[in-house]
Amino acid sequence: MSWPVRVVSTELRKIIAYRSDFWVNFLGQTLIQLFIARALWQSIFESNGQTEIGGFTLGQMTLYYLLAPLTMKILMGENIGFLSREIYDGGLNRYLVWPLPPLGYKLLTYLTYSGFYLLQLALLYTLGRLALDARPYELSEFLRLLAGVGYVFIAAIGYFCLMCLCEMVAFWADNTWTLGVMLRFVAAFLGGAFLPLSFFPEAARNIIEYLPFAAFISGPVNLILGRSTPAEALQSFAVMLAWLPVLGLAVKALWKKGNLQYTGVGM
């Protein structure tokens, strides 16, 4: 077994190490979010007396708010703040003495968590779709789900790079926890987690579509829900792909510079 496979296996064992935490994380949290979103939008639909808002029926809106936080969870991967915390307290030392690329190891652990949440998304979405939407479940929907899942997985690499860039500021500024929180907020807002991007003014949408954020949530969610055409989905995916080498090179450069500053304190 190679080390990447073993890393994935170790991380999965960590995820399922605590039974109650696992089930709360897997089901409890999502069900609560779903319940709140459903109750909120139901009252909005009822007070407006409308059957559709912004092109969403109540069932579709509920599904959107099931998918958006789950997608955000995939992007979050392992806990936010992991790298800056390790730079701050010297925990990074462990990875620097191992004969493997430290950021490669970090990416793998991150993607293991993301992969686990992807499974969660696919399962809960399928259950939610069957429960909330009366239309018959078709093969094309299943294929869209698969494509969406692949989309999120690639987008997660982009988010990892952005997160690394924020976290690596800790090489110079020690404690940068707030930067990570800001990134999470910006990614959630511009990605469409709080409100679908179709609710944004057109001028804002025109800018956002060239930023990587739309690909984090809105792009894959709309693809899964069948709210974007294949051409639209492909375009937002292409934007994400174009950003990946830029972000990757920026991470590499900052890592190299940051390492010269690293003091390994706390050891």
Partner: protein
Amino acid sequence: MGMIEVSGLSKTFKVSTKEPGLLGSIRGLVNRKYVTKAALQNVSLKVQQGEMVGLIGANGAGKTTLVKILAGIIHPTEGKVSVLGFNPWDRNDQLRRQMALIMGQKAQLWYDLPALDSYMLLKEIYQIPEALYRQQIEFLSDVLQIKDQLKVQVRKLSLGERMKVELMGALLHRPNVVYLDEPTIGLDLMAQKAVRKFLKEYQREFRPIILLTSHYMEDIKELCPRVVLIKSGGLIYDGALTTIQKQFGERKKLILTLEEKLTTLPDFPAELGQLEMSENKLSLTTSRAQLNGAMDLLLKRYQPQDVTIQDPPIEEVIEDFLQKGQQ
């Protein structure tokens, strides 16, 4: 033959400072002041394969900085380092596969998993062949007497057990260079002894280079025939531990065992040393130069049953040495 070579190594850190109190903190938000701290200054040393060297110095002397540079964790400001022929901060995988770093205050294994789970990952990271892996697990768990604890979550182990599983994890790949930073810190006496015994056995069996920093002189005395003393970032002594005691142990302790118990401390010239009494014993701490004169004076007054001359404990000699910064 593999070895470590360090020449003209220096490292400076830029550290922020702030005045105490709330006002100081507010000022620090706008105008932060920095000082440059020399953690290492022109350090040179050579360590041969199979040597076990103790790094000694007060807190902040630069021992850990030296270890971190040798392990390739931090970059030096100046100087050259070669570890087994590699520059450590190039982070060459070939070197990292032959190296181990154990930090007494930092866990390397995953808390939520049993040690064996972490070892399986380390096996892949270090590309340890299956046969060697099994052999090492068998040997290390046997010597460390930790076999029963390998399937228990690391966080549920006692401090001593945790240190043992950490040691085991770090040595699984049978490294040729081992950096040990305070391996016995916080352990009880039994656990300290067990770790020392293990390190001795490991050293005898595999002959790696071991660099050890510890504040427990027992660790150094038992394990390191050679010591390197560091003061304020500079190397002030590099040689045998016994030589320090012989050459720089300026004080001697003279103990007279008398027939009768003493009730009052006799008058004694203070310039000849410090006299103490306990039961029927008189002990005098004096300088090497004044020992004969002081002994003559005491032997004129008493007819002791027994006379002993002791060197001061090594801890005291090193403390004196570090305080004086003798070259």
